[in-house]
Symmetry: C2
Subunit: 184 residues, 2 copies
DNA sequence: GTCTATATACAGATAGAC
DNA sequence: GTCTATCTGTATATAGAC
């Protein structure tokens, strides 16, 4: 898929993860791939159409990665570690999670976009819960899986946010240490 | 202090915590208090001047609150609980932390603004470490205080971010439960 | 599908009167 | 300190030619 539509979403995703959704303009996006802004409007009539596709693609891509991890015959701890590794890759690129970034800008999004954003976070939390419930004996804490999932997800999102400003990965590393210690 | 300058910073803070720094325009800010945008420029020549004052005021206000908490003859657990309560008040207003919001928009800020933002987060983390070191026997975990401070702060920032999108306070509550359990 | 050209709105910022 | 008026740049979005 090297057509302009997919080149647009790819470039747009990078811009949003770095500069935010408000930091993405049809003009700069068009320049990025060498077309005009009116051509971007051909593919995505309104900016909210682009937002929708970005959130959908990001969610689907992540869901596929998580499916692969879940299917492996490995310890729960290693599954959680793989989950955290996804955030570490984002941090390495000095980005935020696409949806974490858009969460900060939720007021600029229409109702449909907001729903997709919500579903993204709930999907990630549900994945954690499902993994724990499949291998419950490997959990070392008495914390309820759903509570654990909520702290872990929001903790990782916050770590990306603060670490990028401070300029290191200390908070993400600390979150990793904290949560991995809860699994055998 | 009911002069226009302080009315401006007060209104600006609310707008940034709700809509972000890019969501704050001199025009709408001026309208908010009934003056013209050119008058806003009299008080804050450039937008970065306003950003600077916002971060400084927010930091100073929070530092004063934390000083008061630290001075009380109460348990470490109650001090941490009071710390978390500050975030709960922000969540109750459906806002983000001013600096958490601006952290997402760090690319729009100049170097000076970014330094003040960094200092804000480091100040909060340092406060947690100092409180723990003053009452070390009341800590139930073997986690290093600096590690604990980093996870707690970024966890709370992330909880505000995700909870606002999802529409409840479950993540902040979960973070609270997780961290309070680490103190006697 | 992409282009040129344009409409409309709003952004940050400045000059100069009062 | 605040105003009117304006400059300049950029944003989303659309019409219509190719």
């Amino acid at each position: 898929m090297n057509d302009n539509r997919s080149r647009l979403t790819k470039a747009a995703q990078e811009i949003v993860q770095r500069n935010g959704f408000k930091g993405l303009s049809f003009r700069t996006l068009a320049n990025e791939i060498g077309i005009k802004s009116s051509s971007v409007h051909y593919h995505f009539p309104e900016k909210s159409d682009l937002a929708q596709e970005l959130i959908e693609q990001y969610s689907e891509h992540l869901a596929l990665e998580l499916d692969e991890i879940a299917a492996k015959p490995i310890s729960l701890k290693r599954k959680i570690s793989s989950f955290i590794k996804i955030f570490e890759m984002v941090a390495k690129a000095d980005n935020l999670c696409l949806c974490g970034m858009m969460a900060a800008e939720v007021g600029e999004l229409n109702q449909s976009n907001q729903q997709y954003l919500r579903d993204f976070f709930l999907m990630l939390e549900r994945w954690i819960v499902v993994q724990i419930e499949a291998q419950p004996d490997e959990l070392k804490t008495q914390m309820a899986p759903s509570q654990l999932a909520k702290t872990m997800l929001s903790g990782l999102e916050g770590a990306l946010l603060v670490d990028r400003v401070v300029g290191n990965h200390q908070r993400l590393n600390a979150q990793k240490e904290l949560y991995l210690a809860l699994f055998k």
